[in-house]
Amino acid sequence: MDPLQKTSTWIGVALLALTVLILPMVLGALWIKVLTSAAIFALAASGVALVYAQLGLINLAQIALIGVGGWIALRLNYATDLPVTLLVIIAGGLTGVIGALFALPALRMRGLYLALVTLMVAALAQIFFNAFQFPNGGEGFWGVAQKSADAVRRPGFAQSDTAYFRYVMIALGVAFMLIGLHKSSAPGRAWAMIRQSEANAMAAGINVTFFKLWAFALSGFLAGTSGALLAGALGQLDARSFLAGEGILLFALAVVGGVFSWLGAIVAGLLYKLLPAIFNDLGLSADIAMIIFGAALMHAIMTAPEGIAGQIMGAFKKGGSDD
């Protein structure tokens, strides 16, 4: 680990502790809910960022995979008595498998073509969610009934919104550690070699297909986890939240935030959920956020390829020397 990474890790741990301990004391109930959503989408954005930063592949279907994770979590929530945390992990795992399966035919594609394929997957999921809705405690496999939703379980220790916020923040911390662990070990090295060139990776004995799938599976796992946590946060899920267009927005915000560090994912989550809420609170239209996103994306593309996080980290970096 280089010194900058170490600094960034400590900043992260400190920030997590601060957020978990202090924020719930100073913020009102509404803002805690908003921040919970922001953290949940930061989790999903970290997956998109991972695939883009490590392999240069564009995934616009993350929102669909969040929906898939949410669907699985709700389904299991009503059908079983499994502990909620286990349920979240199962939803994440299954979504990871599904993400890798969808990535399989797309592996030979890159750039615009891969992006288009993932967009089609997102559109497919949008139709699926519209047609079948999310389980709300009804009968049968699809579990949908014409009634208000039954309660979605939360972990025993995280019943209140404040406690659930802490629960989500810790999940986010664990997810960032999982990503960090990947980056600094064999998968990270394999991804780096593939990024250089696939011939180079194969010549180094790296199974290119496997490690690309692994990246998609990990990203899917993060999306699925995020969907499951979202189900617990909102109590029910609405098909209208999982439109294909939201997938594009999430990818764009991940780029604006910065794809190379965990901080970028947090910035993306805050932009996606907190900024519109702030505008609402000020009595302005939340659509103003969209205009700001557009400007921010232009800014990121033209002047800050490492995103806002890169600029923040840059402030900590002294001299910019590599050795």
Partner: protein
């Protein structure tokens, strides 16, 4: 023992390698030929990057064409690229670790293996330097060290001397000569530099327009009239 039998590579209508057959028993073998003769195509056939339509490459009883490209590396095929492949944000040491990951070599043996390879090429002191901070010579040496880690059986060096100074070339000669005694691998050296080939290769093969036009002891091959005409341009 490397046995290349009837290897043919076609890119669309272009025959890049035309039924090349070669039996190599020597420790260090040179491969020369004019631009476009098929030298890099032959190394790519070894690696699995070229569309081979016919033939086989058998090394000590293993047909490389039966193995997927990454499995060839795990089996013991190593290669350097003409255009050096160094990842900007990996350290020298991590480049070697990436190769060891695939070969499934445990933590205990890693440290020793990495030190051995890096010390052998003389860059043990920059193991923690990132790829982007390396000079061309260090990049080249990292690439060669990558080829030596984890028990290589065949090492393909594609123009390793490109862009090196005279003093660095001398060092490169010593390294190439030392690979077989130290690591036990057979070496196939592709280069334009006839002096380098003459200095380190016991035998040399010459390709021209995808065909093998000469193979034998280096001095004899370089004195051959056909070779002189094709390669040295007379």
């Amino acid at each position: 023992m490397i046995e290349i039998t009837d290897v043919t590579v076609k890119y669309g209508g272009v025959v890049a390698l035309d039924s090349v057959s070669l039996k190599i028993a020597e420790d260090v073998v040179g491969l020369i030929g004019p631009n476009g003769a098929g030298k890099t195509t032959l190394t790519n056939a070894f690696s699995g990057f070229a569309p081979v339509t016919d033939g086989s490459i058998v090394v000590n009883g293993t047909n490389l064409f039966d193995l997927a490209p990454h499995k060839r590396t795990r089996w013991g095929l190593a290669r350097s690229f003409q255009k050096v492949q160094i990842v900007p944000d990996l350290t020298v040491e991590e480049h070697l670790k990436a190769v060891l990951d695939g070969k499934g070599i445990g933590k205990a043996q890693r440290v020793g293996a990495i030190s051995k390879a890096l010390d052998f090429v003389g860059i043990g002191d920059i193991r923690l330097k990132q790829g982007r901070a390396l000079n061309p010579y260090q990049r080249r040496m990292t690439e060669i060290a990558k080829c030596l880690i984890g028990g290589p059986r065949v090492v393909l060096l594609d123009e390793p001397g490109g862009g090196l100074s005279e003093a660095e070339m001398q060092h490169l000669r010593d390294i190439i000569r030392g690979i077989h005694p130290e690591f036990g691998a057979q070496i196939l050296l592709v280069d334009h530099d006839v002096d380098l080939i003459r200095d380190v290769c016991a035998a040399t093969a010459v390709l021209d327009f995808g065909k093998l036009i000469a193979f034998g002891p280096t001095e004899e091959v370089l004195a051959d009239e056909v070779v002189k005409t094709a390669y040295l341009g007379r």
